[in-house]
Amino acid sequence: MLIFDKSEQSRVAKGILLKDPVVNSSIPNKFLRESAPMLPEVSELDVVRHYTCLSKLNYSIDTNFYPLGSCTMKYNPKAAHVLAMQPGFLQRHPYAPELASQGVLQCMYELERDLAEITGMHTVSLSPMAGAQGEYAGVAMIRAYHQAKGDDGRTEMIVPDAAHGTNPATATMCGYKVKEVPTDDSGDVDLEALAAIIGPQTAGIMLTNPSTLGVFERQIEKIANMIHEVGGLLYYDGANLNAILGHARPGDMGFDVLHLNLHKTFATPHGGGGPGAGPVAANERLAPYLPTPILGKENDHYRWLTKDDRPESIGQLSTFMGNVGVLLRAHIYIKQLGKQGLEEVSKLATLNAAYLRRRLEAAGFELAFPNRRASHEFVVTMKREAKEYGVTANHVAKRLLDYGFHAPTVYFPLLVPECLLIEPTETESKQTMDQFVEAMTKILEEAKTNPQLVQTAPHTMPVGRLDDVKAAREPDLVA
């Protein structure tokens, strides 16, 4: 039932309603709305009950194991949420004077410095509001750099076939032609193919390392040399930083600019689809182009640097200074984990992935890259099961829901057929993973003995398999 179905004409949440102001408005009639919008007319209890009950229909980290590859669904500390929700932070206006804002600005400044250290980069701008906007910033910086050098012939951005969809989409938004480079059989970028497409037209390359195939790009130094030699620049998609935190740094690998998904590696909650935060970090060469605002510190006074301070900046990507509430949570997370805690993250995220991969392999699942080390995630392919039993990756995903587990990412990366991209993260225990293996083993058994059971899953969710085709063909987007 929709909230609108619970509406009764002229019902209101009386406890919230302001006293009716004496109508004495100086606004001429022609500017006014004629009839009221049909928003819900419900009581406070209606609202509380409706949305409390709705929320219970979700799987979430707080209730379920969520091995969604590339998304790093790790535990979101309650302390970070509670501390970031303090009135001092929530009530601050973005244009409050800096003198009255040193508390939050100090947090932001320290976050910038910590992220620079973590990535091996020179300067950080916190403003992008998600990974994709961070990508936009980074690629726009590459563009600005070439333009500043008068290097106008660079019209192509190279993106591996394994890349996340935001990478090519971003390159397009920045006006580049996307050149796809294939992956070789071992999961690395095909260097020959790469060599064949780079040249003076190359603006740069967008890479994730480890890649979305769950393997570390071993030739990264070579790739960096190749790109730099033809005058291109390297963009690092930081969505997978959880794999190498404290072990290796993109800055050392030769990347010139990158974004980080604070809502992944730095444990800020995903909120059912955001808010995230996608800070960008750049080496000295690209730092001048970073989007504004950026924090400066002068004699223990923190202040925002703007376009005046940073004339070469690509400009501003949000009304104010990005998703400060998200940034605060990441800052709190970094402070709580500290050096040792952060180094442990990638260690145990990697150990968990390797362990889960090994156990699933032993249970009969086919690995996409059996001869490689798993990073913090790994790819399983259901190619064989799809062919033999008609049980696809999507079927397995849906069936997992019946066992109380959120599904892994399916059909991404695109180049592996019928794939499941599985990322347990470091905050899950061996015991939880063992239970997951048990469920997967049962599902494999079911695929063999009772494929229909798997094909028609889920059977225990609030709704059965939904008709996506109908949804797209007759779009019903508004009640």
């Binding site: 408005s25 928003l39 808010p275 500290g338 156990r359 009640a479």
Partner: protein
Amino acid sequence: MFTPHTNTDIQQMLEELEIDSIDQLFDEIPSSLKIEGLDLPDPLPEMELTRIISERAAKDQGKKCFIGAGAYEHFIPAAVWQITSRGEYLTSYTPYQAEASQGSLQTFYEYQTMMARLMAMDVSNASQYDGASSLAESVLMACRCNRKSKSMRILMPEAIHPAYRKTVEAITSPQKIKLESVPFTKEGGQIDFAKLKEFEGEDITAIVVPQPNFFGILEEVDELTDWAHAQGAIVIGVVNPMAMSLIKPPGEWGQNGADIACGEGQPIGSPLSSGGPYFGFMCCREKFIRNLPGRLIGRTTDENGKTGFTLTLQAREQHIRRAKATSNICTNQGLLVTAATIFMSLLGSEGMRRVALKSHQNAQDLLNKLLVLPGVELVFNGPFFHEFVLRLPCPVHEVEEEMNKLNILPGLSLKHIYPEIGDCILVCVTETKSEFDIQQYVEEFSKALQGEMVC
């Protein structure tokens, strides 16, 4: 810190993997790239962390804020964030697995419905990042939608929020879009129709119409919309959603309504929070759906005919269409949308109308009291919503500094933002300000003025 592993667990896992140490798992990383460790401070137990962070939060607390300028302090009922903070909303991912995400999906569907109704538009997406970026995406979308226009010229009023203009520039410039400035009238603070007419007959892709504009002034949206449509231009309304149960919504502008409505969702349920996270909203007419960026939630049925909700029209999006997507947006601002949905449900149309009206009247009240002070002048005579621009008989920053000392933030100085109108201040009053607050403002303002004039 949040890893559950016991030494025994680790030992067993290493055995399963037939290796001796976790470090071996990193052996594909070239040794030249391995670092010794990070130069960061030691971990802090939650207790110490709490002390440090709370001290910082407390530092910035307790200001009476009369700054608006795109971010507005409205009262948010306690239920909004109590429900929004439930783990099931807070810690779930984008609802790719529809069957395990009906909570968020139905909430977003309800949001789309409320937003479309509030804007009197056909459809709404499930959010953009914030107001400025939603305008940038609207401009890009208008260029895709307006097939007849080739110019990629966008009329952009000077009285739009300056940060919106900058963001649009930064996001649209690679795509060869040209922003043409349209000045405001000195007297009214509204789009200068005479100047606008100069574009008549030219190929204009779209016009951006803010309501209210950055100065808090209401634009003549009906005339502007009809004029633009006559030119074959798409009309993009940028509006304050809190105003929309009082003020005419974009879908009702002129003869045919605006084509795209977008703006900052912050006023309806997001705390000020130093500027974010907020959410941008974006609505359009039915026929433009497939050009809309961002998530869309559709209502459909399962195999038993039971109603359910799912992400739909994903062929617009980057994860399917990649380089040809309508936008690169992926993660958006789902949680803020959840809060907004609960906020709108609690207030309803009448509740929001009262907030809007009370804000307007509070602003009018403060203005009246300030205009009595010698030398204080209202800069624009156009009708306003809950913000107005004043010229003072002394430098704005001096009054600001005096009032800051008393924890009052009197408004935003426009000196550097609109040097053309001189040293002015943009003042906002919402329903959160009591009679006492307004009186206190007047008194301290007046004292500050006198102090300055004496010097």
